[in-house]
């Protein structure tokens, strides 16, 4: 069965790359897409970049983690615009949340199971 993907949305490209390599190193077998920084790669967020990161989500779905205000708003908007029903925005802290989700995704848990785990661990999905 296809695995749940992880999408990281941050104001900083370095931050998303850092978390991505952390997850790949520690967890291994997991799909991590990133949308860090604005279109020029500077500090900011870009709706287009976020939509791109969401393009290749498989049927198992994906969880999206964000850092600050506009990352959240743009990620929400991207999900709405692409009408992705199996892609969910998580309010969990970006590093810890993505780590937990990556571990569970790597052992084949469903997107709803992972959301439940996030809720149990962080008090929010």
């Amino acid at each position: 069965m296809a695995q749940v993907g992880i999408i990281l949305v941050s104001h900083s490209e370095k931050l998303t790359e850092g978390i991505q390599s952390l997850l790949e190193e520690v967890v291994g077998d997991v799909s991590v897409q990133t949308a860090g920084g604005n279109e020029e790669g500077q500090i900011g967020t870009s709706l287009d970049k976020i939509q791109n990161a969401m393009k290749n989500v498989g049927e198992a779905g994906a969880l999206v983690f964000y850092d600050l205000g506009s990352a959240q708003m743009n990620a929400e908007m991207a999900i709405e615009m692409l009408e992705l029903e199996h892609v969910h925005l998580s309010d969990a802290p970006i590093v810890e949340g993505a780590y937990l989700a990556a571990v569970e995704a790597s052992v084949g848990k469903s997107v709803n199971d992972i959301r439940e785990s996030l809720k149990n661990e962080f008090g929010k999905e």
Binding site: N38, G44, T45, S46, L47, D48, G69, S70, M73, N74, E76, M77
Partner: protein, 204 residues
Amino acid sequence: MKLNATQAVNWMIKTNEKIQKQSDYLSQLDRDIGDGDHGINMARGFQAVEDTLSNEEFAEVSDVLKKTATTIMSKVGGAAGPLYGTAFQKMAMTSKGTEVDSETFSNMVEAAVEGLKQRGKSEEGEKTMIDVWSPLHDALKETSEFDGEKIREIAHSSMESTKDMVATKGRAAYLKERSKGHLDPGSVSSYYVFEALSETLEKG
């Protein structure tokens, strides 16, 4: 009031002129209580709006606002991108297939306010652009006919009222009481949007 598609394009072009002129001022306001990028983000986004709108023909106001919304969403960046993008998108949806008169415009602003609240998870009185858009809608829905000057006056006094508010949303919220005494940058740029509309309605 009545607004046609050509006027709607002029409205956005005038908005861009004001944003370009006030870009440094907006960034200064944002440096005081935010992250300092509001001017540069808005200037980049609204220049893109003007460039896009100038090269196309539009059948109705809704089409102009829709194009504006999608351009803002992808070009403005920061929190202003999704917020302004949502506001214009809601106005476009509400005006679709209808002539824009006083009643329609009031409904458009109402939809924009709802969109802003939902997107920003915010309410009135939290020192955000909602504090310009929402009082404007309150005033518009009570009058069956209004003109540009009325829109400008309300937007202006609402913008001024954000000075004494304490921010509870966005980056400014970390400053709490210290955010008092500063105008909210998003409210100031919203004022320019409505000042531009006012001038468009007065002068065509």
